[in-house]
Symmetry: C2
Subunit: 417 residues, 2 copies
């Protein structure tokens, strides 16, 4: 994938015809001033498409947003961090609806024109007493230059906000695409604990936008893993408002392909940024599988290696342990023949034909000492390939996730539990 896109400033606020804002409501922490409520708004009617978690336990805002996106007249997205509004039953649905209703009222839209997202701790009721009455303020704050604030308002255990904006010329028109993402934990195919919002001023029909979104999610967010856990709240929402006055982009044309590549580029960059900023992650590792008999075999191998606790632990220690890699290849259920497997770390052979390669261990260690490297696994059985993006597993990840009890203590103070 080309990296030659022109990067611009502004995140989700960069494309024409989009406004955004973020405020601090004290959802993350009543006494702190971290941004935790964000709004993205298209000034004109737009196409909208979304992909949601496949977890069968779905957070309330997912259930509501799915209905709203089916109706298909989305104009704005409201999102909070600090509370996932998941496992909150009918009260959760009521709260999510209240968030969209209050937003719709201020924007003079219908409730079902609002996408709603939440991320944070599971199982606690939303502190609506700190949210609803602040929504008029959130709407008043809408402006062109708050993309970075939106990116900051959606993060939870992320160490920093993650956003992108690019400009590409399609059919002679400048197309801007902006996006932001939050990730950090519960990251696994398919779809991570992750919220991602993308805006573009390209002109795309809703039907085509849906296809572009599903294709791009498959090749970006569905290919990353940090801890193998899939969240109840994962959402990618994309709004395309045609504000750049171009004619509608049609699929299977040169411009359709250009747009597809650009959307995929934006999603892939954001997905990789999620892995790089995973909870207590110190390595970004690309697992590239070649020579599989089928796409599914290649995928099974990439997923098994990318999710193995033992493989990921060894990377954390800077250990180029190909024995653990091949053992994960073996249990992936892909059709493999041990004696055909080659494993390279970057361009150095670690394993050839299922046996240790002559490369000195110190050379392999020097590569794995880097923050980023690629594991190439060639099954030498066919032509199918698959690529995934994963991280190491650190003692600090486990330590970080040993207790969320602090949240509960806070919730008790707040009278929520």
């Amino acid at each position: 994938m080309t990296n030659s896109y022109k990067h611009i400033k502004g995140g989700v606020g960069a494309p024409q015809g989009f406004l955004c804002s973020a405020i601090s409501c004290g959802i993350k922490n009543p006494t702190a001033t971290r941004l935790d409520l964000a709004l993205i708004y298209s000034e004109v009617p737009c196409s909208a498409a979304a992909a949601f978690t496949t977890n069968r336990v779905k957070a309330a805002p997912i259930k509501l947003s799915q209905a709203h996106f089916r109706k298909g007249e989305i104009r704005a997205i409201i999102a909070n961090s600090g509370n996932a509004n998941a496992c909150t039953g009918v009260i959760g649905i009521r709260d999510a609806r209240a968030m969209s209703a209050a937003t719709a009222k201020c924007l003079e839209l219908r409730t079902n024109q609002i996408g709603v997202c939440s991320t944070g701790v599971i199982g606690l009721p939303m502190p609506m007493q700190r949210i609803t009455h602040r929504i008029p303020e959130l709407v008043s704050a809408l402006g062109k230059n708050h993309g970075a604030d939106v990116a900051a308002a959606i993060i939870t255990s992320d160490t920093h906000p993650k956003e992108i904006a690019i400009e590409v010329e399609i059919d002679g028109y400048p197309v801007k695409i902006g996006g932001c993402v939050k990730g950090a934990g519960m990251i696994s195919p398919s779809m991570a604990t992750m919220l991602c919002f993308i805006t573009t001023d390209a002109h795309v029909s809703q039907e085509n936008l849906k296809k572009y979104v599903l294709e791009s999610v498959e090749e970006s967010f569905n290919r990353i893993t940090i801890d193998g856990d899939m969240s109840t709240n994962d959402t990618v929402m994309v709004l395309a408002n045609g504000s750049n006055s171009m004619p509608a982009i049609r699929r299977n044309t040169a411009s359709g392909k250009q747009f597809a590549a650009a959307i995929k580029y934006v999603m892939l960059e954001l997905a990789k940024a999620v892995v790089r900023d995973g909870e207590r992650v110190t390595k970004f590792v690309t697992v590239s599988v070649q020579g599989a008999r089928t796409y599914l075999d290649a995928k099974k191998v990439a997923e098994a290696v990318s999710k193995s606790a033992l493989v990921k632990s060894s990377w954390n220690g800077g250990d180029p342990n190909w024995g653990r890699i091949i053992h994960a290849v073996g249990y992936s259920r892909a059709r493999i023949r041990e004696e055909l497997i080659d494993i390279h770390i970057n361009d150095q052979a670690a394993c050839l034909g299922g046996l240790q390669a002559p490369t000195p261990m110190d050379e392999l260690r020097a590569i794995v000492a880097h923050k980023e490297f690629t594991i190439h696994i060639n099954l030498n059985q066919g032509n199918a390939t698959y690529e995934m993006y994963t991280s190491d597993l650190s003692p600090e990840y486990v330590d970080f996730n040993r207790s969320e009890y602090a949240y509960w203590k806070q919730a008790r103070k707040d009278g929520l539990v």
Copy 2:
């Protein structure tokens, strides 16, 4: 399952007609004196059955033993720790064969009457110069009282040897069953990084023994997980030599059922011991799923919860985080309805109907503070059940697995790499 079996001393040496021995060959460490080579021998012809890893990357001794067990005249098992003889190609096969040939010669058996097992680091050639010439000594040391030595000789990162022996009366005859196991890392369904040897003086045909072994493995070793990784070397070998002079046990009789229950009890106790002694494990957790629509749905839920890094991290911190449990239920791909799910920790409700139960957090925390507890998940959709045995995930586990480089340094000193 009843726990009323009479426990006796002696491990795999307890049943009549079995002898065993263990010596230190310096495979684990050339300069140390840890036991690392073990032998189990039936003085008379016996039935033999085994279950092997389903990992498609199989260690050399697995490939050889599979062939020997197919032939079906096994009389002895030789096993080493410190080197897995995995990913060692034709040299590995040659070495495994050399081990069984040397053993067979001393015991006046044929090479294919020997089961061979190895466990330890993957990808290094076996230090045969330290093994082959010691086998006569190993055979000379055979005796009745070395069961505990065998259990000690097969461990790697285990903190202690794990063995069991029971006596049960079947058809008026005293039947002894002895067993030992090693585990520690790479533990996951199906079959762990794990060697398990079981001896019995019961009289069972080879055909029936195979069925008992497969059934018992399914309900014991295939139900445990520590880190979700499946090893290249997992093996369960069972020898039954009829030395107690009883008539052959037939299946589908009262005595057949008694024997099946006893074998299952021994395997389940050993399997649980593996989890309790998992690498840097501090909790033993039973995940008990009820009310699933099908057995497979129950199994999917139990496996997803038992393997979730986030769930296991929270247990390590003593955090009764039911939100993470229900999120793993959700991504298990089992058919579930969120609003029907009840989760109890021991007898205390944590989640009722998909929502937080009124049990005070401190009471749940008091349970999870214990070393052992049970998570009951009732899907309230049917009658199928499944139970798994898992552990917490500790920062120390990851730290412990960050590098096996010490092995490599030693191997280089030894001139092996």
